[in-house]
């Protein structure tokens, strides 16, 4: 896209009101020299042109906005509109000032779309270039060209960064990645020290777990072995017993007695439990209290609504409550119909409760005597069982006769094994929950470590991303610098035919092959060539809008620069003061011929807030007014 400045309009601002059309003569010259003496708003105009191109006015504060207000004959509103040519289309970007409110805003209009839209509406494909950094390379003062070669500065590299929009890789992505890491840290991402601490805890817990597992396995093995050995001994006992009839008889007798006593005990336990499950019938006081409860509920007529019990009681009477004598037919009818009058669900719960009480509490009183008997029987059965057990043990330890020695030995071993088995069982019971607890702790630590390592991986990824961005920036810069070097070195001999120079490298600043011996003119020319070549890489062809392109240079250098400008291949709008005419303009005319627009702007004698615009070369050359009132 070819981008050119067509002109601008200014009203109500500290610079004089003007409406300037660079194509007023019917054609747009590639070079426009705008002569504005000091005090005619040159700096303000350039600042506003820049603001129109980079959208920076959106961020201006009240003080900045009021700074654009006229000093005399103030008005409440002002505006600055920049007209731009985009290929065959026209774009107008206007900054509207409200000095009462101390604010400003943009309005944009595009000829192809019609209408005016609020806001800074630069076309999408231009937006990447309309940044403050890049526009500083479009609208700049003449000293920029020199700064590009100043080794103390990094303007050349900054220019490359701006063209390639490397700020996104230099600042944008790293800042976003850092914010992710900061957020992760806030949520508990851990440092290497914490990760080490968790790993150490995991190792300790693992050791604990292994010890417990070993103990548990040992206990389980002991239990299995014990049971197996006991079984073997019991088999051995049976075999021994078979060999000796007397022993077998005594043993079987003791065992049977013990079994029977145990059975009696079990039966009495069952009977006792059965009694306890029926407390209303087992304990007289409980039964009585529940009966009293039922009676109380009846008296209180709870539940309120009629129950089946009510109807049953009625039909059992000789007469109905209305006095009519009952017969069987009537009783049957009542029983059939009473369903229509039965109670709500709550009522039925209470009635079930009352029915249960009635059933449970025997009319002859609770079976407390029986409970005491059952309890007594159980105590007795317990004693008997204990004695039978003792006798059985004694019988086993007092075997006599043939085989007794062996039997006693077997029984002793069985006794010992039983003790060991019980100990092993207790050990297993204790260890199993402990092991489970340790495993749970291990799982929790593993999870904690995974989270911490995720966070560490995040940090590594952040570092990696930043490195990638840095590498990408480096690659882009190297790539562009390499091409720039080649391009500039090809172009320079064509432009500086008499005093060719070559670029050595671009590191921060542009460095010449023989910088120490390069003249001011050569240095400045290189700067302009560099900018021009740099802009050649841009997708769009931007103009240069330069404030004092030759400034304080001497005339020979000015002439060199003047001759250089037309070869840059883009629109060049230069704001000059009269003292810059010498050397520069002849050099410019020598190279550009009559393709130059000459404009002279000054404050009108009649109204200082109005500009007087003079077109043409003669007016340009004959204008003498260099008032030293300070730049406006």
């Amino acid at each position: 896209m070819e981008i050119s400045i067509l002109g601008w309009k200014s009203f109500g601002l500290r610079c004089p009101d003007i409406s300037l059309d660079l194509a007023a003569g019917g054609k747009l010259d590639s070079i426009a020299l705008v002569q504005m003496p000091n005090g005619t708003g040159k700096t303000t105009t350039l600042e506003l042109i820049k603001a129109c191109l980079d959208g920076s006015a959106e961020r201006w504060g009240r003080g900045k906005v009021l700074g654009f207000q006229r000093k005399h004959n103030r008005v409440h509103e002002g505006s600055f509109a920049l007209n731009i040519k985009l290929d065959d289309d026209r774009l107008t970007i206007e900054i509207a000032f409200d000095f009462q409110e101390g604010c400003c805003g943009y309005r944009t209009s595009k000829a192809s779309e019609g209408g005016v839209r609020d806001g800074w509406k630069i076309p999408v494909d231009l937006r990447a270039y309309c940044t403050e950094q890049f526009i500083n390379l479009v609208v700049f003062d003449g000293e920029l060209a020199g700064r590009l070669l100043d080794r103390k500065q990094t303007e050349a590299e900054k220019a490359i960064d701006a063209l390639c929009d490397l700020d996104f890789l230099i600042e944008g992505i790293p800042a976003w990645a850092d914010s992710l890491w900061r957020d992760a840290k806030r949520e508990g991402a851990l440092s290497d020290i914490e990760i080490s601490r968790i790993k150490k805890s995991i190792d300790e817990v693992q050791e604990q777990k292994e010890k417990l597992e070993h103990k548990l396995q040992t206990a389980q093995r002991a239990l299995e072995e014990g049971k197996s050995k006991r079984q073997d001994l019991e088999n051995q006992r049976s075999t021994e017993l078979e060999k000796h009839e007397e022993l077998k008889k005594n043993h079987e007798y003791a065992e049977r007695e013990h079994r029977q006593a145990k059975q009696r005990l079990d039966d009495s336990i069952d009977q006792l439990m059965t009694k306890l499950v029926e407390p209303a019938s087992t304990f007289i006081k409980i039964g009585n209290s529940l009966a009293a409860l039922k009676e109380g509920l009846d008296k209180a007529r709870l539940p309120e609504v009629s129950s089946r019990q009510f109807f049953e009681e009625i039909v059992e009477q000789d007469c109905c409550i209305c006095g009519t004598p009952f017969n069987d037919q009537m009783r049957g009818h009542v029983r059939e119909q009473m369903g229509q009058y039965l109670s709500s669900e709550t009522t039925s719960v209470l009635n079930v409760m009352k029915d249960s009480i009635v059933k449970a509490v025997s009319p002859n009183g609770p079976e407390v005597v029986e409970f005491e008997m059952v309890l007594s029987h159980m105590k007795s059965a317990l004693q008997d069982s204990y004695k039978a057990s003792q006798r059985a043990s004694q019988a086993k330890s007092h075997y006599s006769g043939p085989g007794a020695e062996e039997m006693r030995g077997i029984e002793q071993k069985i006794g010992q094994l039983t003790g060991q088995i019980e100990a092993a069982e207790r050990m297993v019971e204790q260890l199993a929950p402990k092991l489970q607890s340790v495993k749970s702790r291990q799982d929790a630590l593993d999870e904690q470590l995974a989270e911490a390592q995720d966070a560490k991986r995040l940090k590594q990824k952040v570092s990696k991303l930043k490195q990638i961005c840095s590498d990408a920036v480096g690659l882009v810069r190297d790539n562009v610098k390499g091409k720039m070097l080649d391009d500039c070195n090809k172009m320079l001999p064509l432009i500086l035919k008499d005093n060719p120079v070559q670029l050595k490298r671009i590191e921060g600043a542009v460095q010449l092959a023989d910088q120490d011996n390069a003249s001011v003119g050569q240095t400045l020319a290189v700067g302009y060539v560099f900018l021009a070549r740099l802009f050649a890489y841009a997708t769009h062809n931007f103009p240069f809008v330069v404030d004092s392109p030759v400034g304080s240079l001497d005339n020979s250098v000015r002439e060199q620069i003047g001759r250089l400008i037309p070869s840059l291949g883009r629109q060049f709008v230069a704001f000059t003061i009269s003292s810059e005419r010498t050397g520069f303009v002849p050099g410019l005319e020598g190279a550009a011929g009559d393709g130059i627009a000459f404009l002279t702007i000054q404050r009108s004698d009649r109204d200082l807030n109005q500009a007087a615009l003079l077109w043409g070369r003669e007016a340009f050359y004959t204008f003498h007014s260099d008032k030293e009132e300070g730049d406006v």
Binding site: I269, V277, L293, L302, L350, V352, M378
Partner: protein, 155 residues
């Protein structure tokens, strides 16, 4: 839901191994409830574990009686006389939910569980904190406790 505490489970751990006598967790819970509701002692439940949501097995036939024992204990605890029909109805409504099986509100379940917890505390105190190991010796001790509790009950 009927619940018991973890401490209750630990205390009766050996006993509950005898599946011949105590076939269900509910058996030991019930024995504690019987003591607690007779004494009128409720205790808060800490680290409660769900057991079962209904009266299981042989206890289902006793549902009416057990509800009545609960109601009687609560009326006594709240000082509500049976002649005060409105107050009695209020206590009933607080404990009974006819739409559920068993017909208990959450307050009703909580009352059951807390009387069981109260009964557990009484048994634990009587057994000097020593967890019982044999069902037969435990039941002898239990019966003595229950007899004493019934004797002391103020109905």
């Amino acid at each position: 839901m009927f619940k018991r505490s973890e401490e209750h489970a630990r205390f009766f751990k050996e006993l509950s191994k005898d599946k011949r006598v105590f076939q269900m967790e509910f058996d030991l819970w019930y024995l504690c409830f019987l003591v607690g509701v007779t004494k009128g002692r409720r205790e808060g439940l800490t680290k409660a574990v769900d057991m079962i949501g209904y009266f299981p097995g042989r206890y289902s036939a006793q549902e009416g009686v057990l509800l009545a024992m609960l109601l009687r204990a609560e009326l006594s605890a709240k000082g509500v006389g049976l002649e005060d029909r409105t107050a009695v109805q209020s206590v009933v409504d607080h404990l009974i939910d006819p739409a559920t099986r068993p017909p208990l509100t959450s307050a009703g379940f909580r009352a059951f569980n807390e009387y069981a917890a109260g009964g557990y505390e009484i048994l634990r105190e009587k057994l000097m904190g020593e967890p019982p190991r044999e069902p037969s010796t435990f039941l002898v001790s239990y019966s003595e406790v229950m007899n004493q509790t019934v004797d002391e009950a103020r109905y």
